[in-house]
């Protein structure tokens, strides 16, 4: 009896230590990355980073055009990817739950979800850039939308399946047609979960480089519309980091730091949204 207790205590202590070590190991990398980018980019991290254009080597400047380009292309991706993804996810969860067609679509969606993003970049390059004849922010936004889409489809599908069946039955029992039940009752019940999925998808696409290299390329200057090549943070980081100039390196680090912070914030935000939703469950 007593030895069993001691043994349990011992095992408990061991497992606790191992778990803590694993957590520290994971978090350590994150801290290291954040610290390195912060220290290395410190010389370029000031207000000008957000107010001036990407500089030529040896000059002072900022990353405004890159931030703006990333923002515009992410917005395009959101506007295309979110409604399509929510609709497709609703179709899967509410109309193809246990069907063969549903299984095929889910499988296809999972393949798209894990497709290398460079493949999607090449695809949009062939589809849009080659047809139109030049790189553009539209093509970049489209490539990002294709990456975002399967994330939204999947979370919508899963979150709708988690809505208690009683709610669906109750809504149908009021004589509401199925589409109205899906849109007005079920999507609303699952909305925080779906929002979390969109935020996580957003975090994912905001760091994508490969698909943008083939679609939006880059732009040293300000471009207000996505009609031509467009600057964006990941590609600028790539280009500046590969360059031989020390001051460009600093801008690359600073850009990387801002991106990492942004993604971290998105992740925390989506957690918070989900946490608040859980508290409000009946």
């Amino acid at each position: 009896m007593n030895t069993l207790y001691v043994r349990r205590q011992l095992v408990n202590a061991l497992v606790m230590t191992a778990s803590l070590a694993a957590t520290a190991f994971g978090l350590g990398w994150l801290l290291w990355i954040m610290a390195t980018t912060l220290i290395q980019g410190a010389s370029a991290l000031d207000l000008k980073l957000f107010t001036q254009m990407t500089p030529a080597p040896g000059e002072r400047g900022g990353l405004l055009n890159a931030f703006y380009g990333s923002f515009v292309m992410t917005l395009i991706a959101l506007v295309i990817g979110t409604p399509l993804g929510v609709l497709a996810g609703t179709f899967l969860a509410e109309f193809q739950r246990k069907t063969r067609m549903g299984a095929v679509i889910r499988f296809t969606n999972d393949i798209l979800l894990s497709a290398p993003s460079i493949v999607i970049g090449l695809f949009v390059y062939e589809l849009v850039v080659r047809q139109v004849g030049h790189f553009s922010g539209w093509a970049g936004g489209l490539a990002l939308a294709i990456i975002l889409l399967p994330v939204v489809v999947r979370t919508t599908d899963e979150m709708l399946q988690l809505v208690p069946g009683g709610m669906r039955e109750a809504a149908l029992s009021l004589g509401l047609p199925k589409w109205k039940v899906s849109v007005k009752v079920l999507q609303r019940a699952a909305s925080t979960g779906i929002l979390t999925g969109v935020l996580l998808g957003l975090a994912r696409i905001s760091g994508e480089t490969a698909p943008l290299l083939f679609t939006a390329l880059n732009n040293q200057y300000w471009s207000a519309t996505p009609n031509g090549p467009m600057a964006n943070v990941p590609v600028v980081i790539f280009q500046y980091a590969m360059s031989p100039y020390d001051d460009w390196h600093a801008y690359a680090w600073a850009g990387a730091f801002v991106m990492a912070m942004f993604v971290l914030l998105l992740a925390v935000l989506s957690r918070a949204v989900l946490g608040r939703a859980k508290k409000h469950r009946p």
């Binding site: 009683g166 109750a170 009021l174 509401l176 009752v185 019940a189």
Partner: protein, 258 residues
């Protein structure tokens, strides 16, 4: 609302109803009548098919591809099991309240406004009146009149259940199905809902599943007693409780069911 109550003709007639969950048969040749102006209690041991019978009466089971019913259930002379019968029209006539409260994730007001505005073209003031009337009938108005815009999830379990009843009666169905509506409620809320059911009887055909013998005796006029997917006995509640024909019914109503 004035209604000519005709007790002689059942509003809902079930004949030779078989029901299957996949290959498992849950109802065997069930026949029963539900009359307008009366509360009919469905009783019987757990798993005997009470909920299953209710779920056939508004065909909510047809949401699940593996489930199927055979036989006849006639409402106003039409067989609702006919595949051509419009499901949304059926459910407008046959409302259902489930055992666990099912508030929608929206405001208290919108919970009622959603079905109301779907079925009827109402001006905003008409809509408010209808919502208020339904909440009053469900004995919830006094508690929620100052917080109609609050989330329905902020209500207590008993309040949520009354909200679901209000939602079901707001669209004025002909038949109201209640599956153990008070099983999760405290005695005070239970009393309120029982009073409500008694009032509703005037306008609706009420079918209520209950495990509570006293409740059945208090609120129902007729009782259908089921056992293992079959109707063993049905008749006026008084008689079922005092002089049942069937020994099983007798054992159950005297609490000697093993």
């Amino acid at each position: 609302m004035t209604l000519v109550v005709d007790n002689s003709k059942p509003a809902l007639r079930v004949r030779d109803l078989d029901f299957f969950y996949g290959t498992q048969q849950a109802l065997h040749a069930v026949s029963a009548d539900f009359r307008r102006g009366e509360v009919t209690a469905i009783m019987g041991p757990s798993g005997c098919g009470k909920s299953t019978l209710l779920r056939v009466l508004n065909r909510v089971y047809s949401l699940y591809p593996g489930q199927r019913a055979a036989g006849e259930v006639s409402l106003d002379g039409q067989n609702i099991l006919d595949p051509a019968y419009d499901l949304n029209a059926l459910r407008l006539k046959v409302g259902m309240v489930f055992q666990a409260p099912t508030p929608f994730v929206m405001s208290i007001f919108d919970n009622l406004a959603l079905p109301l505005t779907h079925h009827e073209a109402l001006t905003p003031s008409e809509l408010r009146d209808r919502v208020e009337a339904a909440l009053r009938r469900a004995a919830l108005w006094e508690e929620v009149k100052d917080k109609l815009k609050h989330s329905a999830l902020s209500l207590s379990g008993g309040q949520q259940q009354r909200l679901c009843i209000a939602r079901a009666i707001a669209i004025e169905p002909e038949v109201l199905l209640l599956d153990e509506p008070t099983s999760a409620l405290d005695p005070i809320a239970t009393t309120r809902i029982e009073e409500l059911i008694d009032e509703l009887r005037a306008d609706f055909t009420v079918v209520m599943v209950t495990h509570n013998l006293h409740q059945a005796a208090r609120v129902s006029q007729r009782t259908v007693f089921m056992y293992r997917g079959e109707v063993v006995e049905q008749g006026p509640t008084d008689r079922i409780f005092t002089a049942p024909d069937n020994p099983r019914t007798h054992d159950y109503v005297t609490g000697r069911f093993g």
